[in-house]
Symmetry: C2
Subunit: 650 residues, 2 copies
């Protein structure tokens, strides 16, 4: 177990979480290597604290818990058995043993009660990955971590890798405990310094990989498609050029020399200024397959992002619809991607707004491997200054059935943009740790009830006493956030650049393709097939029909799909304008209520955590009021419709 300064928060792996194991007798049996060592160390450390006892590969004596590695097949599954007053975890692969241990930790005393239980657990998704948008060199605009709200990077500082990797080990431990098995260590926007991680700076990546390996986590790297030019001095990065392919093959061979279990590459190509195959008249399949070919001999994978759109759109042009872009670009390529190329698709068609429909690209490429990308870092959802537990949103995405089958079953991998930094609470807002935890647990079991996961996290982190209060604060926080920000799925009413706080017209006349088209009569984007951009028709039935008409479109997505008058009556029975007013008043009231509940937990939550959340609540409330007043004023000024309840609109 890594040794961290006292000041670093244990997150959900509190000492108390290990009491049940630590006060018992455990036998760790079979296998060797860093992962098994980690398992043994975890138990030993717990026993040192709570008076229990652990043996490894000893001759059978009396024990309460057997952690039994029976093979070497790399499997992540484990079987939990309760029999004859003893608890057994059996795994045929090292990672399974580790996950089994943390299962026992989560169960606590329950792991040692009852009889005749036997359950086998295996992850629904083989790859459960965090992408770090961490820069090696501090970017002049984006800083050390692009869209990071938790301090600096765990991996990089001021242009170089951090020397002390204890924090990285501790991070790996947290990730393993919730089931994450892959990390990409640098930003998908690959700048000059970061490009070199692939070649002469691979040693820095190898050191990180070594620290993470002890917790069953494979390391991935974001690379620049232009690397052969930028780093290799070639004249081209054309994926069909022999020289280019040779360059990547050789570079990849050297990567695997340094990191034998290297996971693969993550690529953002032809997107927001990043280089890509379009420059050479090649398709994205040709680009991805070239990298897949280089990785194939070693079992590596290329994650090819589908986030391709025109970010220099003319706002006057109403025919171009950014929401259509990923589908339009990629669906014609279905079947052309190599088997170790995974298309990584953001869960919504735009960019991690608080409410979007599920991307129509998901399910539309049956012959292509799919990773669904979520965003744990709260770029558009309060930047870890606001409580916004994203479990319900992610669960809705994973359960959505584009064409009968749920998203979670269509996907090979679930990826989230990490919300972690070198902050003492890991995530800036201590309650944002729940997003990290929930992501990992949902990736393991996408059909889990997110509220059960929340309760699990609360129990581990806070114990029993404050649990009900913390749950009250968190369970509805995503919908609360939705209420006081952009209404009814329209999105993007944020301050340009940093994306924090309201600016209704902030992106309205911009090149980013993110518009609401509000005028004095109505608001929303007509994406119907009949009269709009045709985006709705990218869905399979029934969704194409559901979304096509304002009569059947769900309220919460109405303005994403339709331009309607302010007087349009929602399924809720309220008009659009009255819905805007009501939700914005309600949202702020809900924040006020949550803040009061949190205040009541003083003394039940450790003082520093309580103080940090209290301070964040002050800012959340200030910001929520700003959202309420700006949104309400904007639409009152535009529509002229007074609030039915006569509340104050400025």
């Amino acid at each position: 177990m890594p040794h961290l300064p006292e000041s670093v928060d244990p997150a959900w792996l509190t000492p108390g979480a290990f009491r049940a194991i630590g006060s018992r007798r455990t036998l760790v049996r079979g296998g060797e290597g860093p992962v098994v060592d980690s398992v043994h160390e975890e138990v030993a450390e717990a026993c040192a604290r709570f008076g229990g006892h652990v043996e490894r590969d000893a001759s059978p004596g009396p024990y309460d818990l057997l952690l039994d590695l029976t093979g070497d097949d790399g499997s992540e599954a484990f079987t939990f058995t309760r029999d004859d007053g003893r608890t057994t975890v059996t795994a045929s692969g090292r990672p399974g043993l580790l996950y089994g241990l943390f299962h026992v930790v989560r169960l606590g005393e329950d792991a040692f009660r009852g009889e005749a239980r036997r359950e086998t657990h295996r992850p629904a998704l083989g790859l459960r990955m965090l992408d770090h948008w961490d820069n090696v060199a501090v970017h002049p605009v984006m800083g050390q971590v692009e869209r990071g709200y938790a301090g600096g990077s765990l991996f990089w500082e001021d242009g170089r890798a951090r020397g002390n990797l204890e924090r990285v080990r501790a991070y790996g431990r947290l990730l393993a405990s919730c089931g994450i098995n892959a990390v990409a260590v640098n930003n998908v926007n690959v700048h000059r310094a970061e490009a070199r991680l692939l070649t002469d700076r691979i040693g820095e990546v190898a050191a990180i990989a070594c620290a993470l390996r002890a917790y069953g986590i494979r390391t991935h790297l974001s690379v620049s498609f232009a690397a052969p030019v930028v780093l290799g001095g070639l004249a081209t990065a054309d994926p069909l050029e022999g020289g280019v392919r040779a360059w990547w093959a050789e570079a990849t061979a050297r990567v695997y020399e340094a990191i034998p279990d290297f996971g693969g590459y993550v690529v953002k190509a032809d997107s927001e200024g990043q280089p890509g195959p379009f420059a050479y008249g090649r398709s994205h399949a040709e680009g991805a397959n070239m990298l897949a070919g280089a990785l194939e001999p070693y079992g590596g994978t290329v994650h090819w992002r589908a986030f391709v759109y025109d970010h220099r759109q003319d706002w006057r042009d109403r025919t171009t619809d950014r929401a259509r872009a990923a589908y339009d670009h990629f669906v014609p390529l279905d079947g052309e991607f190599a088997s170790n190329a995974v298309l990584q698709v953001k869960h919504g068609p735009m960019d991690f707004q608080v409410r979007e429909p599920v991307s129509p690209l998901i399910g539309a490429m049956p012959a292509t491997r799919l990773a669904v990308e979520l965003q744990a870092t709260q770029e558009y959802t309060g930047q870890q200054r606001h409580v916004c537990w994203l479990g319900p949103m992610w669960s809705e995405v994973l359960r959505f059935r584009p064409d009968g089958t749920p998203v979670a079953e269509l996907a090979d991998a679930l990826v989230a943009v990490s919300n972690v930094g070198d902050d003492r609470f890991w995530t800036g807002h201590p309650l944002a740790q729940a997003n990290l935890y929930t992501f990992g647990r949902l990736a393991w079991r996408p059909d889990a009830d997110p509220l059960e996961i929340l309760d699990e996290w609360i129990g581990l982190t806070f114990g029993t006493e404050p649990a009900a209060g913390v749950r009250t604060v968190m369970e509805g926080s995503w919908r609360t956030y939705e209420k006081y920000t952009a209404p009814l799925g329209v999105g993007f009413m944020v301050q340009p650049g940093h994306h924090y706080g309201p600016s209704v017209d902030g992106y309205e006349y911009s090149p980013w393709g993110t518009y609401h088209f509000a005028d004095r009569d109505g608001i929303g984007v007509d994406r119907s097939a009949a009269t709009g951009t045709g985006y709705a028709a990218q869905y399979a039935k029934p969704w194409a029909e559901v979304y096509e008409s304002p009569e059947t479109c769900p309220d919460e997505l109405l303005l994403f799909f339709h331009h309607v008058p302010y007087g349009h009556v929602l399924h809720s029975g309220r008009t659009v304008i009255q819905h805007i007013y009501d939700t914005h008043f309600e949202g702020v009231e809900e924040v006020e209520a949550a803040r009061r509940v949190w205040a009541s937990l003083v003394g039940l939550v450790d003082a520093e955590r309580h103080a940090r959340v209290t301070e964040r609540f002050e800012e959340q409330l200030r910001c929520a009021r700003e959202w309420r007043d700006q949104i309400n004023s904007y639409f009152f000024r535009k529509s002229g419709v007074p609030d039915a309840h006569g509340r104050r609109i400025h």
Copy 2:
């Protein structure tokens, strides 16, 4: 004459401008010291180029031009005489001789024609000053020059003074040639590095002062009101504390040891985060007088800026009016300021918008010395990417009669924020040199016809052939800029932060006190006494009455003073909404026309200057179209009123 790299533009002091003097015989008589040396060098250099001849203090031989210094009284006046086929400039002070020389340069051959002329010239305003908002250390947001659009600073680079002062000397020469006699060398926002210019880094200022002294220019310094705390380690900066007064007295004594003709201090106090006397419960008069007391023994002056307002205003609060702030803060202090304290007042009540009324503070403090502050750097007027010759605006300000007497006669000093940097054309946009020149000439003679000054500048810079074309491009450029940007005096529809390009609501819900209050029915700020903020009543008659009513308020200021319906009919006969549409279409058409005229001057203007302006015109046109379309779309969406002429609004 300073020796600069060939690449640095001579601006209006082209070699050709010296042909008339340089081809004649000149006698420089009387006096010594750097200013007289500069006069002699100017003539000598011209003669070396054009075959003339210069002598200094020689026994009278035949000459065409006598530059005659008859005393040592420091006077800036000179007398120009034409008699007996000879031209004579007589001055009783060194600066007068220098200004007389440049008068002859401006006249060119005309200085040597005709007979029996005798004119005495003296500056209307004793202090004609440029304030540089240059930072010593590069500011993380504002850069090397705050609101600078002409490259880096002439004085500072990356935290230190530039070693080579030839460019500073050349700058001093340009300034002297248009009549400027004072420069403040650092930003009024005094950060940590800049604060130390007052004490241990005064040597760097002294070196600059030495270079400028040769052209009759005194150096001033922006200081931090908190200097006794920040630099001196005192516990307070309270202006009534004996220890604080002693600290300033000693610091000032050391400044004058280093720079005997030091001009004085410039202070931005209690403004936008800068420290000031309010922290100690003292008035701004008490603050200013404390510094005035320190400067008084040496003949120095404190320039105390009146730019004091609440920059953390709640946008919901309609009772607070930033426009009122300077008057409300300072008028009660009239008579309390020391005689060497000058209150420096921005020409308008807000912040250098393309159209503002004259500040009501001007003329309202008869017992207080006044400096009027203009902004040559085009922060809100196109940032030296757009042609925007500000002469007509400044002339309107200087001729305005708050209470019978023109502004120019109420003021002791005219100050402009400099538009110059280390750009090869000095001002980024070559045509922005005209703003620098016009400022100097208007400060000397505020009742001059600005178009005559423009012609003077064109003649010196371009010669005869392209003159008519350049005039066409420039003369109406301020009104053109006004047309395509924020309408009818409402101001501030700019992108937040950098202030370039349109954002109609960019400052509408901000803490900066800069609002337009547009709704579906109308637009504008009610600043009347009867129903608004009462700002209009800060003016003396007749202006208080003129501005009070929408019926008498000038069209171009209507939305500054009144909130009116879009259908309100202007004196022009057009409605407000139709005026918005019309001016925005016209503004862009005028840019297109000016661009065509400029293109026609190819071959008549030196190639690099022509290319630079051509490149800027591309950006100006792009940006003007963006302004047109965003403003028109915004108001069409809000008002629903179609363009009477059916033009395309998006």
